[in-house]
Protein backbone atom coordinates (compact mmCIF):
# COMPACT_ATOMS: atom_id res chain seq x y z
CA UNK A 1 0.00 0.00 0.00
CA UNK A 2 1.25 3.48 -0.90
CA UNK A 3 0.26 6.76 0.73
CA UNK A 4 1.36 10.25 -0.23
CA UNK A 5 0.66 12.92 2.39
CA UNK A 6 1.19 16.67 2.20
CA UNK A 7 0.80 19.58 4.60
CA UNK A 8 1.23 23.22 3.59
CA UNK A 9 -0.55 24.89 6.49
CA UNK A 10 2.63 26.26 8.10
CA UNK A 11 5.84 27.73 6.75
CA UNK A 12 7.09 24.23 6.03
CA UNK A 13 6.15 22.17 3.03
CA UNK A 14 5.84 18.66 4.49
CA UNK A 15 5.54 15.49 2.49
CA UNK A 16 5.07 12.10 4.13
CA UNK A 17 5.40 8.84 2.25
CA UNK A 18 4.22 5.37 3.24
CA UNK A 19 5.29 2.36 1.25
CA UNK A 20 4.09 -0.95 2.70
CA UNK A 21 5.43 -0.48 6.20
CA UNK A 22 8.20 2.01 5.46
CA UNK A 23 7.83 5.72 6.16
CA UNK A 24 9.76 8.53 4.48
CA UNK A 25 9.53 12.27 4.68
CA UNK A 26 10.58 15.42 2.91
CA UNK A 27 10.36 18.76 4.72
CA UNK A 28 11.20 22.10 3.22
CA UNK A 29 11.20 25.54 4.85
CA UNK A 30 9.37 27.75 2.40
CA UNK A 31 7.74 30.61 4.25
CA UNK A 32 5.25 31.83 1.66
CA UNK A 33 6.20 30.07 -1.55
CA UNK A 34 3.95 27.03 -1.22
CA UNK A 35 1.87 27.98 -4.23
CA UNK A 36 4.97 27.94 -6.45
CA UNK A 37 6.66 24.86 -5.05
CA UNK A 38 4.03 22.46 -3.67
CA UNK A 39 3.17 20.67 -6.89
CA UNK A 40 6.69 20.62 -8.35
CA UNK A 41 8.04 19.24 -5.06
CA UNK A 42 5.42 16.47 -5.03
CA UNK A 43 6.51 15.63 -8.56
CA UNK A 44 10.20 15.51 -7.60
CA UNK A 45 9.48 13.33 -4.60
CA UNK A 46 7.47 10.91 -6.73
CA UNK A 47 10.32 10.76 -9.25
CA UNK A 48 12.87 10.11 -6.51
CA UNK A 49 10.71 7.23 -5.30
CA UNK A 50 10.30 5.93 -8.86
CA UNK A 51 6.55 6.04 -8.32
CA UNK A 52 3.97 6.95 -10.86
CA UNK A 53 1.23 9.16 -9.40
CA UNK A 54 -1.37 6.53 -10.28
CA UNK A 55 0.39 3.97 -8.05
CA UNK A 56 -0.50 5.99 -4.95
CA UNK A 57 -3.41 4.31 -3.16
CA UNK A 58 -4.34 7.15 -0.81
CA UNK A 59 -3.64 10.85 -0.77
CA UNK A 60 -3.46 12.36 2.71
CA UNK A 61 -3.69 16.04 3.38
CA UNK A 62 -3.11 18.37 6.32
CA UNK A 63 -6.37 20.33 6.46
CA UNK A 64 -5.44 22.91 9.11
CA UNK A 65 -6.10 24.85 11.16
CA UNK A 66 -3.30 27.12 10.02
CA UNK A 67 -2.39 29.75 7.47
CA UNK A 68 -5.48 30.36 5.35
CA UNK A 69 -3.70 30.40 2.02
CA UNK A 70 -1.54 27.46 3.05
CA UNK A 71 -4.58 25.36 3.98
CA UNK A 72 -6.11 26.05 0.58
CA UNK A 73 -2.98 25.28 -1.39
CA UNK A 74 -2.52 21.86 0.21
CA UNK A 75 -6.12 20.78 -0.01
CA UNK A 76 -6.42 22.06 -3.59
CA UNK A 77 -3.29 20.17 -4.68
CA UNK A 78 -4.52 16.93 -3.12
CA UNK A 79 -8.04 17.38 -4.46
CA UNK A 80 -6.58 17.78 -7.96
CA UNK A 81 -4.46 14.66 -7.69
CA UNK A 82 -7.14 12.50 -6.10
CA UNK A 83 -9.87 13.66 -8.46
CA UNK A 84 -7.87 13.06 -11.63
CA UNK A 85 -6.57 9.68 -10.46
CA UNK A 86 -9.83 8.53 -8.83
CA UNK A 87 -8.20 7.91 -5.46
CA UNK A 88 -9.53 8.39 -1.92
CA UNK A 89 -8.39 11.29 0.24
CA UNK A 90 -7.65 11.32 3.96
CA UNK A 91 -7.94 14.64 5.73
CA UNK A 92 -5.66 14.95 8.76
CA UNK A 93 -5.75 17.86 11.19
CA UNK A 94 -2.48 19.75 11.20
CA UNK A 95 -2.72 19.94 15.00
CA UNK A 96 -2.66 16.12 15.10
CA UNK A 97 0.47 16.18 12.93
CA UNK A 98 2.12 18.70 15.27
CA UNK A 99 1.04 16.86 18.44
CA UNK A 100 2.87 13.76 17.21
CA UNK A 101 6.16 15.65 17.78
CA UNK A 102 5.73 15.21 21.55
CA UNK A 103 8.63 13.03 22.73
CA UNK A 104 7.22 11.74 26.03
CA UNK A 105 3.97 10.61 27.63
CA UNK A 106 1.58 13.01 29.32
CA UNK A 107 -0.92 15.73 28.45
CA UNK A 108 0.12 17.30 25.18
CA UNK A 109 -1.00 20.76 24.00
CA UNK A 110 0.20 21.97 20.64
CA UNK A 111 -0.29 25.76 20.41
CA UNK A 112 -0.12 27.47 17.04
CA UNK A 113 -0.18 31.25 16.62
CA UNK A 114 -3.44 32.09 14.84
CA UNK A 115 -2.65 35.83 14.93
CA UNK A 116 -5.31 38.32 16.04
CA UNK A 117 -4.08 37.38 19.57
CA UNK A 118 -5.55 33.89 19.23
CA UNK A 119 -4.17 30.37 19.45
CA UNK A 120 -5.07 27.23 17.51
CA UNK A 121 -4.87 24.35 19.93
CA UNK A 122 -6.19 21.04 21.17
CA UNK A 123 -5.40 18.63 23.98
CA UNK A 124 -4.01 15.11 23.62
CA UNK A 125 -3.13 12.30 25.98
CA UNK A 126 -0.04 10.33 25.12
CA UNK A 127 0.65 6.99 26.77
CA UNK A 128 1.73 3.47 25.91
CA UNK A 129 -1.33 3.03 23.70
CA UNK A 130 -0.43 6.08 21.62
CA UNK A 131 -1.65 9.61 21.10
CA UNK A 132 -5.33 10.34 21.68
CA UNK A 133 -7.07 13.66 21.23
CA UNK A 134 -9.26 14.46 24.27
CA UNK A 135 -10.58 17.91 23.31
CA UNK A 136 -11.99 19.56 20.19
CA UNK A 137 -9.85 21.65 17.84
CA UNK A 138 -10.06 25.14 19.28
CA UNK A 139 -9.34 28.78 18.49
CA UNK A 140 -8.75 30.52 21.82
CA UNK A 141 -7.44 33.75 23.30
CA UNK A 142 -4.57 33.08 25.68
CA UNK A 143 -6.80 33.57 28.76
CA UNK A 144 -9.04 30.68 27.68
CA UNK A 145 -6.04 28.60 26.64
CA UNK A 146 -4.72 28.89 30.20
CA UNK A 147 -8.08 27.81 31.62
CA UNK A 148 -8.15 24.71 29.42
CA UNK A 149 -4.52 23.75 30.09
CA UNK A 150 -4.06 21.06 32.69
CA UNK A 151 -1.29 21.01 35.30
CA UNK A 152 1.96 19.72 33.91
CA UNK A 153 0.85 19.95 30.27
CA UNK A 154 3.53 19.65 27.64
CA UNK A 155 3.07 22.78 25.50
CA UNK A 156 4.79 23.61 22.22
CA UNK A 157 4.30 25.51 18.99
CA UNK A 158 4.95 28.92 17.51
CA UNK A 159 2.44 30.57 19.86
CA UNK A 160 4.92 30.09 22.71
CA UNK A 161 7.17 33.12 22.13
CA UNK A 162 4.08 35.34 22.32
CA UNK A 163 2.47 33.89 25.43
CA UNK A 164 5.30 32.13 27.30
CA UNK A 165 5.16 34.40 30.38
CA UNK A 166 1.39 34.31 30.74
CA UNK A 167 1.26 30.54 30.42
CA UNK A 168 4.14 30.05 32.87
CA UNK A 169 2.43 32.23 35.44
CA UNK A 170 -0.91 30.47 35.22
CA UNK A 171 -0.37 26.84 34.28
CA UNK A 172 1.30 24.97 37.12
CA UNK A 173 4.16 22.76 36.08
CA UNK A 174 3.76 23.52 32.38
CA UNK A 175 6.55 22.00 30.31
CA UNK A 176 7.68 23.90 27.22
CA UNK A 177 9.39 22.12 24.36
CA UNK A 178 11.92 24.16 22.41
CA UNK A 179 11.82 25.22 18.77
CA UNK A 180 12.97 21.87 17.40
CA UNK A 181 9.52 20.52 18.22
CA UNK A 182 7.46 23.31 16.64
CA UNK A 183 7.70 22.26 13.04
CA UNK A 184 5.42 19.78 11.37
CA UNK A 185 7.11 16.63 10.14
CA UNK A 186 5.94 14.92 6.99
CA UNK A 187 6.34 11.47 8.56
CA UNK A 188 3.72 12.33 11.17
CA UNK A 189 1.00 12.64 8.54
CA UNK A 190 1.21 8.88 8.04
CA UNK A 191 0.13 7.45 11.43
CA UNK A 192 -3.18 9.36 11.61
CA UNK A 193 -3.77 8.55 7.93
CA UNK A 194 -3.29 4.81 8.55
CA UNK A 195 -5.64 5.05 11.52
CA UNK A 196 -8.34 6.60 9.37
CA UNK A 197 -7.86 3.97 6.65
CA UNK A 198 -8.29 1.27 9.29
CA UNK A 199 -11.48 2.90 10.51
CA UNK A 200 -12.73 3.44 6.98
CA UNK A 201 -12.97 7.19 7.50
CA UNK A 202 -12.08 8.15 3.95
CA UNK A 203 -12.96 11.23 1.98
CA UNK A 204 -13.13 11.95 -1.71
CA UNK A 205 -11.66 14.85 -3.65
CA UNK A 206 -15.07 16.48 -3.40
CA UNK A 207 -15.82 16.24 0.28
CA UNK A 208 -12.45 16.69 1.95
CA UNK A 209 -12.73 20.11 3.57
CA UNK A 210 -10.32 22.54 5.21
CA UNK A 211 -10.54 23.04 8.97
CA UNK A 212 -10.48 26.82 9.27
CA UNK A 213 -11.67 27.46 12.84
CA UNK A 214 -12.72 31.02 12.21
CA UNK A 215 -14.94 32.78 14.74
CA UNK A 216 -18.58 31.71 14.33
CA UNK A 217 -19.49 35.01 12.73
CA UNK A 218 -16.98 34.43 9.95
CA UNK A 219 -17.76 30.92 8.81
CA UNK A 220 -16.57 30.42 5.29
CA UNK A 221 -18.95 28.99 2.75
CA UNK A 222 -17.59 25.80 1.32
Amino acid sequence: MKILGIDTTTQSLCIGIYDSGRIYEYNLQLERRHSVLAVTTIQRVLEALCWKAQEVDYFACGIGPGSFTGVRIGTAAVKGLAWSLHKPVIGVSSLDILAANAPSDGIIMPAVDARRSLIYCSIYRKDASGLKRIAPYMLLPVEDFIKKAKQGSVIFGDALPLYREKILNHVKGAIFLDKDYWQLAGRNIIAPALQKIKEGRLNTAFDVAPLYLYPKECQIKK
Binding site: F68, T69, R72, S117, Y214, E217, C218, I220
Partner: protein
Amino acid sequence: MKILSGSVKQTLEIGKKIARNLTKGDIICLFGELGSGKTVLAKGIAVGLGIRKEDVISPTFVLIRRHDSKAKIPLYHFDLYRLKGCSDVAVLGYEEFVYGDGISLIEWADRLKELMPQQCLKIKLAVRGKNSRLIDISCHGRRYDKLMEAVRENIRH
Protein backbone atom coordinates in the same frame (compact mmCIF):
# COMPACT_ATOMS: atom_id res chain seq x y z
CA MET B 1 -5.86 62.80 19.11
CA LYS B 2 -8.09 64.99 16.94
CA ILE B 3 -6.87 67.15 14.09
CA LEU B 4 -8.92 69.40 11.84
CA SER B 5 -7.66 69.42 8.27
CA GLY B 6 -8.71 72.39 6.15
CA SER B 7 -7.79 71.01 2.74
CA VAL B 8 -6.76 68.03 0.68
CA LYS B 9 -3.21 69.35 0.77
CA GLN B 10 -3.23 69.49 4.54
CA THR B 11 -4.62 65.94 4.80
CA LEU B 12 -1.79 64.75 2.54
CA GLU B 13 0.71 66.45 4.85
CA ILE B 14 -0.79 64.76 7.90
CA GLY B 15 -0.48 61.42 6.09
CA LYS B 16 3.20 62.09 5.41
CA LYS B 17 3.78 62.85 9.06
CA ILE B 18 2.07 59.63 10.13
CA ALA B 19 4.26 57.71 7.67
CA ARG B 20 7.50 58.96 9.20
CA ASN B 21 7.51 56.43 12.03
CA LEU B 22 5.90 53.43 10.38
CA THR B 23 7.76 50.15 10.41
CA LYS B 24 7.34 46.56 9.30
CA GLY B 25 4.18 44.99 10.66
CA ASP B 26 2.30 48.21 11.43
CA ILE B 27 -1.43 48.15 10.79
CA ILE B 28 -3.49 51.27 10.21
CA CYS B 29 -7.27 50.99 10.00
CA LEU B 30 -9.14 53.80 8.30
CA PHE B 31 -12.80 54.57 8.91
CA GLY B 32 -15.10 57.14 7.37
CA GLU B 33 -17.84 57.68 4.83
CA LEU B 34 -17.35 57.99 1.07
CA GLY B 35 -15.55 61.26 0.38
CA SER B 36 -14.26 61.68 3.91
CA GLY B 37 -10.67 61.57 2.74
CA LYS B 38 -9.50 58.03 3.47
CA THR B 39 -7.77 57.62 0.12
CA VAL B 40 -6.26 61.11 0.37
CA LEU B 41 -4.78 60.26 3.74
CA ALA B 42 -3.60 56.91 2.36
CA LYS B 43 -1.86 58.76 -0.46
CA GLY B 44 -0.16 61.04 2.05
CA ILE B 45 1.08 58.05 4.01
CA ALA B 46 2.30 56.35 0.82
CA VAL B 47 4.14 59.50 -0.29
CA GLY B 48 5.73 59.67 3.14
CA LEU B 49 7.01 56.13 2.54
CA GLY B 50 8.56 57.17 -0.76
CA ILE B 51 5.85 55.89 -3.09
CA ARG B 52 4.70 58.05 -6.02
CA LYS B 53 1.41 59.74 -5.31
CA GLU B 54 0.06 58.92 -8.79
CA ASP B 55 0.55 55.21 -8.16
CA VAL B 56 -1.72 55.21 -5.16
CA ILE B 57 -5.32 54.91 -6.28
CA SER B 58 -8.28 53.52 -4.44
CA PRO B 59 -8.18 49.72 -4.61
CA THR B 60 -11.97 49.46 -4.38
CA PHE B 61 -12.19 47.06 -7.30
CA VAL B 62 -9.07 45.02 -6.77
CA LEU B 63 -9.43 45.00 -2.95
CA ILE B 64 -5.69 45.22 -2.38
CA ARG B 65 -2.68 46.88 -4.00
CA ARG B 66 0.91 46.30 -3.07
CA HIS B 67 3.44 49.13 -3.34
CA ASP B 68 7.14 48.93 -2.65
CA SER B 69 8.30 51.70 -0.37
CA LYS B 70 11.69 53.38 -0.46
CA ALA B 71 12.76 51.40 2.58
CA LYS B 72 11.88 48.19 0.71
CA ILE B 73 9.00 47.53 3.07
CA PRO B 74 5.88 46.65 1.09
CA LEU B 75 2.80 48.76 1.66
CA TYR B 76 -0.44 46.79 1.42
CA HIS B 77 -3.28 49.15 0.64
CA PHE B 78 -6.68 47.53 1.20
CA ASP B 79 -10.12 48.81 0.36
CA LEU B 80 -12.80 46.55 1.77
CA TYR B 81 -15.77 48.66 0.65
CA ARG B 82 -17.20 45.95 -1.59
CA LEU B 83 -17.03 43.22 1.01
CA LYS B 84 -20.12 42.30 2.97
CA GLY B 85 -18.70 40.77 6.12
CA CYS B 86 -15.78 39.06 7.67
CA SER B 87 -16.37 35.77 5.86
CA ASP B 88 -15.55 37.64 2.63
CA VAL B 89 -12.44 39.04 4.28
CA ALA B 90 -11.34 35.61 5.47
CA VAL B 91 -11.54 34.25 1.93
CA LEU B 92 -9.13 36.99 0.79
CA GLY B 93 -6.41 35.43 2.92
CA TYR B 94 -5.84 38.95 4.14
CA GLU B 95 -4.06 37.80 7.29
CA GLU B 96 -1.08 36.67 5.30
CA PHE B 97 -0.60 40.29 4.31
CA VAL B 98 -1.69 42.11 7.42
CA TYR B 99 0.36 39.99 9.78
CA GLY B 100 3.20 39.65 7.34
CA ASP B 101 6.25 41.62 6.35
CA GLY B 102 4.77 44.95 5.36
CA ILE B 103 2.82 48.00 6.45
CA SER B 104 -0.95 47.61 6.09
CA LEU B 105 -3.35 50.40 5.37
CA ILE B 106 -6.96 49.28 5.49
CA GLU B 107 -9.78 51.46 4.16
CA TRP B 108 -13.29 50.55 5.28
CA ALA B 109 -11.77 48.58 8.13
CA ASP B 110 -15.22 48.31 9.76
CA ARG B 111 -15.86 45.47 7.28
CA LEU B 112 -13.36 43.35 9.22
CA LYS B 113 -15.74 43.01 12.17
CA GLU B 114 -14.48 40.05 14.25
CA LEU B 115 -11.27 39.94 12.24
CA MET B 116 -10.32 43.49 13.24
CA PRO B 117 -6.77 43.43 14.60
CA GLN B 118 -6.77 44.01 18.35
CA GLN B 119 -3.59 46.01 18.04
CA CYS B 120 -3.55 48.79 15.44
CA LEU B 121 -3.68 52.50 14.82
CA LYS B 122 -7.27 53.58 14.12
CA ILE B 123 -7.97 56.70 12.15
CA LYS B 124 -11.55 57.98 11.80
CA LEU B 125 -12.29 60.64 9.23
CA ALA B 126 -15.43 62.77 9.18
CA VAL B 127 -16.66 65.55 6.91
CA ARG B 128 -16.84 68.89 8.74
CA GLY B 129 -17.42 71.26 5.81
CA LYS B 130 -16.78 71.56 2.11
CA ASN B 131 -13.04 71.15 2.52
CA SER B 132 -12.49 70.44 6.17
CA ARG B 133 -12.20 66.98 7.66
CA LEU B 134 -11.91 65.88 11.25
CA ILE B 135 -9.18 63.28 11.67
CA ASP B 136 -9.39 61.27 14.88
CA ILE B 137 -6.39 59.04 15.62
CA SER B 138 -6.41 56.45 18.39
CA CYS B 139 -4.02 53.68 19.33
CA HIS B 140 -4.72 50.12 20.42
CA GLY B 141 -1.92 47.99 21.86
CA ARG B 142 1.42 48.90 23.43
CA ARG B 143 3.28 49.04 20.14
CA TYR B 144 0.88 51.67 18.90
CA ASP B 145 1.11 53.82 22.04
CA LYS B 146 4.66 54.54 20.97
CA LEU B 147 3.72 55.11 17.35
CA MET B 148 0.96 57.47 18.46
CA GLU B 149 3.43 59.44 20.60
CA ALA B 150 5.76 59.79 17.63
CA VAL B 151 2.92 60.85 15.34
CA ARG B 152 1.82 63.44 17.89
CA GLU B 153 5.35 64.86 17.93
CA ASN B 154 5.57 64.92 14.14
CA ILE B 155 2.29 66.75 13.80
CA ARG B 156 3.13 69.32 16.45
CA HIS B 157 6.26 70.35 14.55
